[in-house]
Symmetry: C2
DNA sequence: CTCCGGACATCGAATCGTTCTAAGTTAGGC
DNA sequence: GCCTAACTTAGAACGATTCGATGTCCGGAG
């Protein structure tokens, strides 16, 4: 797929300097940034971005379906540029997250208890390699 | 299983009036209360409970394994007296939650990408019956 | 070219959920 | 009936996020 900034431009989204650095902050190797981490990265590239603009922009990208918003146990939302249906490995000690493929063995019948099921997300609670190595995982 | 308050007493937990009304607030029909809703219910039974005591008590019950803490998309944690492994149907419009049994068809190999898997939680994103009926689910 | 309107960005204050703190109260062993 | 530790309290503090008011930029009509 084309990079995020290209897709955004093609949609006619006004790609200002601030929005560009925010979008670029999302397309690195670490794909589960909290809003504040996005802010830090964006500000490193362009000091005159404000926190509010980061929040505004992230919310717009979520509404546009270009980012996934993931609510994390620590209370800070994470933003995931991988919008394909997928699942997460979450370390219960350090909170680190890793995407895992959705093989979706059994998306159950579309109706459950009267709820109309839209999608399924599996969270694997785990210890990450670092915490297994260094930590007393008691 | 014995009711929550009985189990707590049997553990030697000091069952004060405040703790009792908080525990009782958790054992009603609605099993996914936010802290503030627990506070409201507890205060209805005993007006002189403070918010801090509710938070303290809920955190203790979670630490004791008597409650499950669930992080919800709206940022408020929910507390679930059903501590058996299970999954959740979550309405994406109103946020309502429903427990579903964990048949756990395939708890995958205990190791994934170097993560040591402890447990699996499936979230079914859905429209609840009320929102299907009343809402423009657009 | 200039003006205008609307979209965008900014700053700081406000809000929300939660935790902390310091002081007051209670329960139960001696 | 004390003493101590555990418990509770009200309110301040906190971190994450949103809001509101104001300022800036851009593109098109005149």
């Amino acid at each position: 797929m084309e990079p995020l900034v290209v897709r955004l431009r093609d949609r006619g989204w006004r790609l200002t300097a601030q929005r560009r650095v925010i979008a670029e902050a999302m397309t690195g190797e670490h794909t589960h940034l909290a809003a504040d981490e996005v802010f830090e990265r964006a500000r490193a590239a362009l000091p005159e971005v404000s926190r509010a603009t980061v929040y505004n922009t992230l919310n717009q990208l979520v509404a546009m379906g270009e980012l996934l918003e993931i609510s994390h146990a620590d209370g800070r939302k994470r933003y995931d540029p991988n919008v394909a249906e997928h699942h997460h490995l979450v370390c219960v000690r350090c909170g680190d997250m890793l995407d895992v493929e959705a093989d979706d063995p059994d998306l159950p019948d579309h109706q459950q208890h009267g709820f109309e099921v839209l999608g399924v997300e599996v969270t694997f609670w785990a210890y990450c390699p670092d915490c297994v190595r260094t930590g007393a995982n008691a």
